[in-house]
Amino acid sequence: MRNVPDSLLRHDKRHAWIAFAALAIMLLALPFATDALLGRGWVRIVDFALLYIMLALGLNIVVGYAGLLDLGYIAFFAVGAYCYALLGSPQFGLHWPFWIVLPLGALLACVFGVLLGAPTLKLRGDYLAIVTLGFGEIIRIFLNNLNAPVNITNGPQGISMIDPVRIGGFSLGSTHELFGLTFPSVHLYYYLFLCVTLLVIFVSLRLEDSRIGRAWMAIREDEVAAEAMGINTRNIKLLAFAMGATFGGAAGGLFAGFQGFISPESFGLTESVMIVCMVVLGGMGNIRGVVLGGVLLVLLPEALRHGAGPAQHALFGKTLIDPESLRMLLFGLALIVVMLVRPAGLWPSTQRRRELSPDEDVVHQEQDTVYDSSK
């Protein structure tokens, strides 16, 4: 991408390859290492972390790129999950294949994204946040109440015995022996989620550095100026809602298949707020930051849940604060600290850091096209 001296470039490239290979091996071995060191329950938690990272990356398009604060994002997750559950469970006796149900859920979520986006186009900031928050709640309440007069969603009881993800004849819901290794279900889901997460990252990166991505950011920075420069803000904003919702819907389908059971409870305001926090805490608009935010916000509370009880026993001889409330307490505290100390997030966008290192300037002046490397 940059015209740096050849030797330096080769050096850089070799390092990049080594780092890449190390990361790949780490990611591939992660479920086995987690299983051996911490137990099977933790592999499950890692799977959930991946689902949340997908969600956070999807929301990052809406909040991070286009600057539209969406507090009802979990609704799209719900739409995807219920679409999968209704078409692949005894609820209606339907067992459509995964290959159809998952894209269908994503598509349906996309439609809902546009439906939500269209009436809110003129709203900004706080007002948009409130309307989207309401939208999220409406979806949840609908799911809660669509059990009468005709039972569609089974109400608060939720839908159970959802088909596991099945690729061809290969079900991810049971243990398999492959290459002489035993892959329990959670491991298999881990690899599936990892692939989808990588795909979502790839899509985000490509969008970020494109004509559409720049239009999103222009709207985030100054909507009036963006309009005056010829950006059709209505279409471009709807596109952001639609893209974000599509990712959310896909993640929802995976969630339903993985969990085997869903109920409206999983799609509350707390979950929406969690995802917004992942995006904001990690570093809005920066993919690495968002991934970091997702990992931290899923893993730390779990670590706390497992660690806080024993720690209190060791210190005071009894449990003073219930780990669950402690978790919320520390969560709030962490947010305040991060906002005070690192307002741009834990891992802010590269651009801001690039800005802080003037020695790179020369390199940039020589840079002729963004596509040098592809020539």
Binding site: R211, R214, A225, M229, Q351, R352, E355, D361
Partner: protein, 259 residues
Amino acid sequence: MTAANNVLLDLSGVGKRFGGLAALSDVSLHIRRGEIYGLIGPNGAGKTTLFNVVTGLYQMDDGQFTFDGIAYDRCKPHVLAQAGIARTFQNIRLFANMSALENVMVGRHLRTRAGIWGALTRNAGARAEERAIVKRARDLLHYVGIASPHQTLAKHLSYGEQRRLEIARALATDPKLLALDEPAAGMNATETESLKALLQTIRASGVTVLLIEHDVKLILGLCDRVAVLDYGRKIAEGVPEEVRRNPAVIAAYLGGEAA
């Protein structure tokens, strides 16, 4: 070529009210192709409001305007940008957290086509287009004379460079009419002088310029024709020297300065 063909922007009887305040009333003026047209007047005269009307940010209450022979009424800003009107803002409105280069690249948005598919696949067409966008943006940054590295965030540029960057961004839309709202505000004498040269180059390249300015010297030295607004009305129009001697203008605006 007929006279009508020569007119790029034609306003007739344009009015705009804010509640009880008539920010523009019955303003008629026409701007010819290739000229530098000055718009002056005291604070609150309605100059910026006129810009906002012709760029679609405000909808006018009375009158009509045609641009390049086509009437525009209740049009969105992006439609007018597409038609060929580009502008800068009195209170700079750059994309602050984007680089100088990216700011100009955004200006190419409406002359390029790559969508989601192009972004994801980066096929040959999308790559070529993106290369062209970058090249054009770099050329424009040089053209307006921004010396800072192109990766500098817009908000970290000096004031003068921010004004130039706004011009580069506007030029990136391939405008027929470039509307500048007080581009020299806050510039020192040298900066103003080089801005003047830049505007002359832009005009020479075939772009018509509409200029709001308080700097009388700049207006006199640069504009082919000038219109004067006062309390939303056009009180004079003509070549700068003539307008300068107009008693109504002296009373309203130039005051002691011109006497």
